[in-house]
């Protein structure tokens, strides 16, 4: 209920030793963990033994973190091929929990955790909660889905590690969410950015914002823009934080941004990040955009070497103004999966979001991209919601609005788009990950 300005912010750390460790010390720690982990997977996971044998690499060749490039990659397909328990490095009895992908197509991707893996996960989320200014006195309303999807459980484990109160709402039923948020005096909430936006709009519409005690929100699981972040902060008068994670690595809590919002701090003592050039998998220089690849340094249940996330970002290893030395990955431009090539131009859904938000509320920042191929030409249709304030009963005015949206999008994307205006609040708000693109081309 009160956004804290940067100049009044008092930074706090959950694990200052790790979070502010010098680069040399961190490298030494990572080297020690990597050597152990490689030996572990070589001995206990036939899949990795074979991969390493094929590459002619032995555990002894890995002497420190600088040797990581010698190791084989792991892809989502590898996880599917070894579904469900083919990549375990411990006996099945040691597995305390499984989680899965939020589910896109076909078989889901399963991740298995030992008791210690679960603790590490909670600890990482707790570091992020502290970074967001929360303490054990806070009440955290979790409207991420609970279930196989890691969102709900991740935040819950973080709240538990922190000693804060968790309100396990799960997703859906916005009216009830708002009622509980108010009645239980939640001081923070976690959900996808698109649902946070939806909740903010709903709270505004219900006129209850002054009665909420929310001061921060933790939003992730899908890419979002700074414009969207500022909009949520403005409506609810709170601070928002971006959380990143994927179930293969642990779930939310792999990285999170601080009040300075200059990238998401990666908990690299557990998850070692590499940025690789998508074309030839060579290492990117700091600041250069590439595919994010993770090696789990501490994981026991299902450790992964060099897991290709398909998320595109860049990394900054310079110390942050918040005092942390943990490297920062930039907000995601998108996934290699989400990027669409339209008439030869790369288009990311987040560009559409930024462009719509730049229009000062003339249209809502909710959209759906539909790509079709007509007469061998790509056609991009963007469905955009009309807002109640800018709705007119005069078709002339609506057509003018449509033209304005088309012009702004063309400017932002570099390709012309067909704009389709739809009724307010009809584009689906996601409670897991928002579906932003439908590609009808059979390429």
């Amino acid at each position: 209920m009160a956004k804290v300005l940067l100049e009044d912010w008092k930074e706090q750390y959950r694990d200052e030793k790790i979070e502010c460790m010098s680069r040399d010390e961190m490298s030494a720690l990572q080297s020690e963990k990597l050597v152990k982990q490689v030996k572990n997977v070589y001995e206990n996971v036939p899949f990795y033994r074979k991969k390493m044998d094929d590459l002619g690499v032995e555990p002894g060749d890995i002497k420190g973190i600088e040797d990581i490039h010698k190791l084989p990659f792991t892809t989502k397909e590898d996880l599917r091929d070894n579904y469900p328990f083919g990549l375990l490095a411990v006996p099945r009895e040691k597995i305390a929990r499984v989680q899965g992908t939020s589910g896109t197509t076909g078989k889901l991707t399963l991740a298995a955790y030992t008791e210690k893996d679960v603790d590490t996960w909670g600890e990482c989320v707790a570091r992020g909660l502290v970074m967001a200014g929360l303490t054990s006195a806070d009440r955290i309303h979790v409207c991420y889905g609970y279930g196989l999807f890691t969102g709900g459980m991740g935040l819950d484990l973080g709240a538990r590690a922190l000693g804060a109160m968790a309100i396990p709402m799960s997703s859906g039923n916005t009216k009830r969410q708002l009622m509980c948020m108010e009645d239980f005096g939640a001081t923070a909430f976690g959900c996808t950015p698109s649902y946070a936006m939806y909740l903010a709009e709903a709270a505004q519409e219900a006129g209850i914002i002054d009665r909420l005690q929310i001061k921060a929100s933790i939003n992730g699981a899908e890419p979002w823009t700074d414009e969207m972040r500022l909009k949520i902060e403005e409506i609810l008068n709170i601070n928002t934080f971006d959380i990143y994670g994927l179930c293969e690595i642990t779930g939310p809590g792999v990285a999170m941004d601080c009040i300075h919002h200059k990238g998401l701090h990666v908990y690299e003592d557990h998850f070692y990040p590499e940025l690789l050039n998508p074309a030839d998998q060579s290492a990117c220089a700091d600041g250069e955009t590439g595919e994010l690849v993770f090696t789990t340094l501490s994981k026991e249940g299902m450790p992964l070497l060099r897991y290709r996330t398909k998320d595109l970002t860049s990394i900054d290893r310079s110390p942050c103004e918040c005092g942390r030395t943990l490297p920062r990955i930039q907000k995601f431009t998108g996934r290699t999966d989400d990027m669409k090539v339209i008439r030869g131009v790369n288009v990311f859904p987040t560009q559409v979001e930024a462009a719509l938000l730049s229009m000062g509320g003339q249209v809502a920042p909710h959209y759906l991209l539909i790509v079709d191929r007509e007469n061998n030409l790509d056609v991009l249709t963007v469905m955009v919601e009309v807002t109640e304030e800018h709705f007119s009963d005069e078709i002339r005015k609506m057509e003018a609005l449509k033209e304005r949206v088309g012009a702004v999008l063309k400017q932002a994307l570099g390709v012309s788009v067909r704009v389709k205006l739809v009724e307010p609040k009809t584009i689906q708000r996601s409670e897991g990950k928002a579906k932003r693109v439908i590609d009808n081309r059979s390429l």
Binding site: D393, I395, E399, E423
Partner: protein, 147 residues
């Protein structure tokens, strides 16, 4: 004359989607809102439903509760007798007055017909029509026409 002579029209933005009009009409029916007149304009993407109803405010509320966005617009409704040229006469007066008409639709009203007209200057429209001898409906009269 004052705005007392303008009528509130209920306008709904409709996606071109099977069954959408039916949904809107059903919500109004269940809310006990009677439709006196309507016009449906269409474009390739969407339609614009404009209605004179028994209680426009209530209509807007029941639609909003059903998640349908509607707005109220000031329009002018006036009597057009069933004589050849009567509508033409009204138009002529409005053109003389340099009134820009956005859209218009008509409905039968007992012995006569009524025309509903949207302009940026509803108050001047009322003035001109009254000044040239036309009967302009008050809101109550319009909402209960044919009732």
């Amino acid at each position: 004359m004052s705005l007392n002579n303008t009528v509130q029209q209920l306008s709904v933005f409709l996606e071109n989607r099977a069954g959408r009009l039916d949904e809107v009409l059903k919500v109004l029916a269940e809310g006990g809102v009677n439709i006196v007149a309507l016009s449906l304009a269409d474009t390739s993407d969407y339609g614009m439903l404009r209605m004179i109803v028994s209680d426009p405010h209530k209509g807007r509320v029941v639609l909003k509760d059903a998640g349908i966005t509607a707005m109220l617009t000031d329009v002018v409704a006036f009597r057009v007798s069933h004589d050849t040229g009567s509508l033409s006469k009204a138009m002529h007066q409005l053109v003389e007055g340099e009134i820009n008409i956005e859209y218009m639709y008509a409905f039968a009203n007992g012995e006569d017909a009524a025309a509903v007209l949207k302009s940026d200057e509803p108050v001047r429209v009322v003035d001109i029509l009254l000044g040239s001898g036309f009967k302009v409906y008050s809101a109550d009269e319009a909402y209960t026409a044919n009732a």
